[in-house]
């Protein structure tokens, strides 16, 4: 691998890390967690779907 190619890879890695740091400082919790290597907090998508479904079901059967 040439020094030039290595340099490009390093720049790409740094860009990703800097972008992550930037998003973390802007309050992006997923980026903060990713930066620390931690698991992101918050509900799973299936939980969000379940809450929405429960609401829809209540509305649906109330309307009947």
């Amino acid at each position: 691998m040439t020094a030039n190619a290595t340099g490009e890879i390093v720049v790409a890695i740094l860009r990703v890390i800097l972008d992550l740091i930037d998003r973390a400082f802007r309050g992006d919790e997923a980026a903060q967690a990713q930066l620390l290597g931690m698991l992101p907090e918050g509900p799973l998508k299936i939980t969000v779907a379940a809450n929405l479904a429960a609401e829809q079901a209540r509305e649906h059967f109330r309307a009947r």
Partner: protein, 156 residues
């Protein structure tokens, strides 16, 4: 920012930066117990991507089929059991991750982390009940935990 990065590359040399980034990543890496916990958590997140659309599809079908709210809830019961198991297990992984991050690691932390991975087995059982194939990420996480510390036999 790009100019600054290029100047850094020129002045310090690519090799030096690679070494610095590698040292940073390796030096700040998680502990073995944290790796186990995060592996399980990420496996659940990966499973979540697959099952969330299936949950919504099941809900739409149940809504069309069921005549009453009680009938709808009966039809959705296995899916809701899966959702509750997944969320509770994931919350436990997050809590364990935070506790370990806060310095709560001791000599028994690895075994307790493996016990937490055993909870994924309950998720797998729920998936089988729904005829949803257990994804490789989940079975791998279970195997990963076992390979680390053996089966969880004692209390946590």
């Amino acid at each position: 920012m790009q100019r600054l990065t290029l100047v850094l590359v020129e002045r310090l040399g690519a090799g030096l930066i690679v070494a610095a980034v590698a040292a940073l990543l390796i030096g700040c890496g998680p502990s073995p117990a944290q790796r186990v916990v995060r592996y399980g958590g990420h496996a659940l997140r990966s499973l979540d991507e697959q099952v969330a659309p299936r949950y919504t599809a099941a809900h739409e079908k149940a809504l069309a089929d069921a005549a009453t709210l009680a009938a709808y809830q009966r039809e959705m019961e296995p899916w809701n059991a899966l959702q509750q198991t997944m969320q509770t297990t994931y919350d436990a992984f997050v809590a364990a991750d935070l506790a370990l991050e806060a310095g709560g690691e001791d000599t028994d932390a690895l075994r307790r982390a493996a016990c937490l991975l055993a909870a994924l087995d309950t998720v797998a059982v729920r998936l089988v009940a729904l005829d949803v194939p257990v994804p490789a990420a989940l079975s791998e996480a279970l195997r990963f935990g076992e390979s680390f510390t053996g089966r969880c036999t004692g209390g946590p």
